[in-house]
Each structure stands twice: as structure tokens, then as C-alpha cells.
């Protein structure tokens, strides 16, 4: 009799406690939290990145007028949720223009020029490789490792680098050296065309 009383008391207490914590954890991770509680009821489950994600705009029914761009690097967020008209990204298959209402795409980038068009202004960055995700809600995420505004590139250094890597490519013996030299040549010729084009 006593045991049943204590169990009902505990469950009532647990129910009230569960109420207050429900608001904190989103439903997406409930399976994880449940599994965790079964294995280790005393330790609080760790949080997952989903709970820290900034909310994203929902998929609109009509065609949106502006594209929201998030341009992130490991060191900073260059553009965070900026509304622009168009971006042109250097995908491996060539320059790709992204307008609002673009079909959802995952594209791999090669070293090249990224240009952001906002009204009459165009900002050009030279980016190393990375990825671009275009979502159905006209949000474009561009993630690259390095990005430099084009006007900060030194032309003479580019020429020197190009010569150096072409030389290395010609004198490379192993596959690894050849691959590294090829990458150097690709990046520098892309830099070159960025400066001229």
C-alpha cells in the first residue's frame, strides 16, 4: 500500500517536472533523450546542435523577391542573412547564378570568384573551394575555407606562384606531388583570371 502511494507521488512529481523541461528540448531529439534516460537516468543528456540552430525562414508559397545569403568562413561570418538580388558562385561545373526561387541544390565549389549582386553594387570575393547549399526557402549557404576581396590580391605574387607551380608540375615524380602541383596551378590560374576577368 505504501509503495503504491510513493509511486503515485513520484509519478505526479515527475509529471510536473516533465512539463517544465518539455519546453526546452524540441521534439526532434526525443528519441535520443529517451534512449539516454534508459541507459543513464542520473546524467543529463548532452545537447545537440539542432537546439542551437538559428531559426530558418519557412518555405514561402509565392516566389520571394530577395535571396537570403549566409556566407561563412571558419574565421568569420562574412554575410549573415543578408538579402541580395543574386549571387554568382564558382561551382565545379562552371559559374552558377543563383536567383531567388532557385531549385534546391547542393553544389561543390572550385577556386574562383564569388560575386554578390545587391541592387547596383557588386562585391567580388575570391574563394577557395567549399560548398553552397540552396534551400527551398531561398536561403543560400555558402561555406568556404578562405575568401579574399578581389581588390586585395597582389598580381605579381599570383604570376610568381603560377610559374612556381607550373615548374613543380613539370618536375613532379610521384602522384602526390603531381596532384599538389596541379592544385597549385589551378588555384593560381583561377586567381589570374579573377584579376583579369
Amino acid at each position: 500500500m505504501f509503495r503504491r502511494a510513493t509511486s503515485t507521488f513520484l509519478s505526479r512529481a515527475a509529471a510536473t517536472r516533465r512539463f517544465s523541461t518539455d519546453v526546452a528540448t524540441p521534439a526532434a531529439d526525443s528519441a535520443f533523450v529517451e534512449a539516454w534516460k534508459k541507459v543513464s537516468p542520473n546524467l543529463d543528456p548532452p545537447k545537440t546542435p539542432f537546439e542551437f540552430l538559428k531559426p530558418r525562414p519557412p518555405v514561402p508559397t509565392t516566389l520571394p523577391t530577395k535571396l537570403t545569403v549566409n556566407f561563412v568562413l571558419p574565421y568569420s561570418s562574412q554575410l549573415a542573412a543578408k538579402e541580395v538580388d543574386m549571387v554568382i558562385v564558382p561551382a565545379t561545373t562552371g559559374q552558377m547564378g543563383v536567383l531567388p526561387g532557385h531549385v534546391p541544390t547542393i553544389a561543390e565549389l572550385k577556386p574562383g570568384v564569388l560575386s554578390v549582386h545587391e541592387g547596383n553594387d557588386t562585391t567580388k570575393y575570391f574563394v577557395s573551394s567549399g560548398f553552397v547549399f540552396i534551400h527551398a526557402n531561398s536561403v543560400a549557404d555558402i561555406i568556404t575555407v578562405e575568401a579574399v576581396p578581389v581588390d586585395q590580391i597582389d598580381a605579381s605574387l599570383v604570376q610568381k606562384g603560377l610559374q612556381e607551380f607550373t615548374q613543380k608540375l613539370n618536375s613532379a615524380s610521384t602522384d602526390l606531388e603531381k596532384a599538389e602541383a596541379q592544385i597549385g596551378v589551378d588555384v593560381h590560374s583561377a586567381l589570374n583570371s579573377a584579376l583579369t576577368g
Binding site: 526532434a28 531529439d29 528519441a31 535520443f32 534512449a35 539516454w36 541507459v39 543513464s40 546524467l43 543529463d44 548532452p46 545537447k47 545537440t48 546542435p49 539542432f50 542551437f52 540552430l53 538559428k54 530558418r56 549566409n70 561563412v72 568562413l73 571558419p74 574565421y75 568569420s76 561570418s77 549573415a80 561551382a91 565545379t92 561545373t93 552558377m96 531549385v103 534546391p104 541544390t105 547542393i106 553544389a107 561543390e108 565549389l109 572550385k110 567549399g130 560548398f131 547549399f133 534551400h135 527551398a136 536561403v139 549557404d141 561555406i143 575555407v145
Partner: protein, 326 residues
């Protein structure tokens, strides 16, 4: 009568000083005088010398912990801006692929990020506890969990009972300031040497100087991503995305998964470094506060002891004088 009793009591104490055997006398006095002094009631009290020594060492400890706190505060300032700037890095991946903490896979790899140096509160123990529970969660028939350990502290704790499960352990990450190139080389190392279906990165996310949230980030291998995409659910929308670039979809997905791993690792390592400095700050702060309290108590004891010894000296003199005069 009372005076005779007092004399007898004093006699017990004065006896070693006036005993007939000088050698024993010096020996016994050297043994008794600095360390114990009997007071009036025959009870013993700590001499001032011991208390003074203890006060000196506690004061030194307080200075050291205060200095460590300042150092940690300045290091925290430096890393904090970089960690906050890198927070945008993992958001696109989670927005695209969702978060698959509850995914069911055969080969789990738990990457535990911890610090090399100690005296940073409980963050390393929390990470290790969570890693252990994660490995228990994913245990079962033909499921296995391997550990990849970053940092000396987690290695010391996990090597005790899970030595055979440790696939790779790396230390001295912070010898040079953390940068993306170093982390991507590390990620490359891990991806090449460890077979995985899902990588779970356990680290302490820096919420504020006094709060660190243990977090686990999951990165799936491209095959599992495809499997989950077909199964539907969070990743079901992945098929609606066009894949540009690369020859095949699986090649792009492979690059995507590797890039995701290095980005998430970079953020994790930075956040953990921040948490380490913050935890060290608060640990050293409470330590110096403790030392201050201890110093106050010792000062009181010291004063009491000093006053007691002065009083006993006076009493000796006075009772000696009164015994002589009459």
C-alpha cells in the same frame, strides 16, 4: 594552599628547566619548547611558528591561483572572439542534414574533445562520462564503439577501462594557436584511419563564462546519409536537392561529409578551448577565495596563540615573583 597547588602545577612545567641533569635538560627543552607549550591547564596549543608557516604557504597559494585566474581570463578573451566567429560554420550543415543524434548505426566513433592541462573544474570528467554513456547507448549485437581522444585529460581517464576501444589519441593540440588548417589535417587523419558509420563529437559548448553545455554533434558517413535519405524522416528532403559538380552523387556526398566533419571539429575544438579557460577561471577564483578564508581563520588562530603565550609568560613571571617574595 592555592599557591602551593599553583606552584606544584608550575613545578611540573618548570621541572625540566631546573632538573639536575643538564644534558637531559637541554635535550628535553629542545624537544618541548618550540613545538609544544603547555599552558596553565596542562593542555597543549600550537605554537605561533607553525601557524606562521601555514599562513605563508596559504598566502603563496592565493597569489598563484589569482595569477592563474588572470592568465585564464586573458586567454579566454583571445579565444572567445574566434569561437563566436566560427559558430556560423556548422549551422548550414545542420540546416541541410538535420541532426541525427538518435541514428542507429553499426560502427560508432566517439570523438572526445578535452584539455591537456588540468585545474579546469569538471569539464573533462563530464565529457568522459558522456562518452561512456554514448558508447553504452550504442552497444548491442554487432555494434561497436571506438574512441578517438583529443587531449591528455580524457586519455588518462578512458585508458583505464576502455583501452582496447581507443582507436586514436592526439595530444598537444594547443601548442600553436588553433587554426583551420591544423584541424582539417587532424580530421583527415581520423577519417583515413578509423572506419566509421557515424562520428559523434563530444565537447563543451561555451555558453557563458560560468556555464558550459555538454554537446554532442553527429556526422554521418555518406552511405548512412543515403540510407537515411531513402528511409525518409529528417533527411528525406535530401533527394529533392539537385547535386551539381562531381561525377556522381556519392562523390559529392563524400566530400560533403568530410567537409562537414572538419568544420564541426573546428568549432568543437574552439568551443572546448573557451570552456576550458572559463572553467579554469572560475576554479582558480573559488580557490583564491578559499585561500583567503583560510588565511582569515589562521590569522585569528595566530593572534589567539600569540596572546595566550604572552599571558602565560606574564603569569609565570608574576607567580614566580610572588613565590619569591612571599
Amino acid at each position: 594552599m592555592a599557591m602551593a597547588a599553583a606552584m606544584r602545577r608550575e613545578g611540573k612545567r618548570l621541572a625540566p628547566l631546573i632538573s639536575s641533569q643538564p644534558i637531559n635538560n637541554t635535550l628535553r627543552s629542545s624537544l618541548t619548547s618550540p613545538l609544544d607549550q603547555t599552558s596553565i591547564g596542562g593542555a597543549r596549543s600550537i605554537s605561533t611558528q607553525i601557524v606562521r608557516n601555514r599562513m605563508k604557504s596559504v598566502k603563496n597559494i592565493q597569489k598563484i591561483t589569482k595569477a592563474m585566474k588572470m592568465v585564464a581570463a586573458s586567454k579566454l578573451r583571445a579565444v572567445q572572439t574566434r569561437a563566436e566567429n566560427s559558430r556560423g560554420l556548422w549551422q548550414p550543415f545542420t540546416a541541410l542534414l538535420g541532426d541525427a543524434a538518435s541514428v542507429d548505426v553499426k560502427k560508432n566513433v566517439v570523438v572526445t574533445v578535452s584539455s591537456d592541462k588540468g585545474l579546469c573544474g569538471g569539464i573533462n570528467s563530464t565529457s568522459v562520462k558522456i562518452s561512456r554513456v554514448l558508447s553504452k547507448l550504442n552497444s548491442g549485437p554487432d555494434k561497436e564503439t571506438k574512441y578517438v581522444i583529443l587531449g591528455e585529460k580524457a586519455k588518462a581517464q578512458l585508458i583505464r577501462d576502455s583501452k582496447k576501444d581507443i582507436a586514436l589519441s592526439l595530444t598537444e593540440l594547443q601548442k600553436n594557436p588553433l587554426n583551420y588548417t591544423q584541424v582539417s589535417v587532424l580530421a583527415d587523419d581520423i577519417l583515413k584511419n578509423v572506419e566509421y558509420d557515424a562520428l559523434r563529437i563530444v565537447f563543451n559548448k561555451f555558453h557563458s563564462v560560468v556555464q558550459f553545455i555538454p554537446t554532442v554533434s553527429t556526422v554521418l558517413s555518406p552511405e548512412i546519409v543515403e540510407r537515411e535519405a531513402e528511409a525518409g524522416g529528417k533527411l528525406g528532403e535530401l533527394d529533392s536537392y539537385e547535386i551539381e559538380g562531381g561525377e556522381t552523387k556519392s562523390e559529392v556526398l563524400q566530400n560533403l561529409s568530410e567537409f562537414q566533419f572538419s568544420c564541426v571539429m573546428f568549432n568543437a575544438v574552439l568551443e572546448n578551448a573557451c570552456s576550458e579557460q572559463g572553467a579554469r577561471m572560475s576554479a582558480m577564483d573559488s580557490s583564491s577565495r578559499n585561500a583567503g578564508d583560510m588565511l582569515d581563520r589562521l590569522t585569528l588562530t595566530y593572534n589567539r596563540t600569540r596572546q595566550a603565550s604572552i599571558t602565560t609568560e606574564l603569569i609565570e613571571i608574576i607567580s614566580g615573583a610572588s613565590a619569591l617574595t612571599g
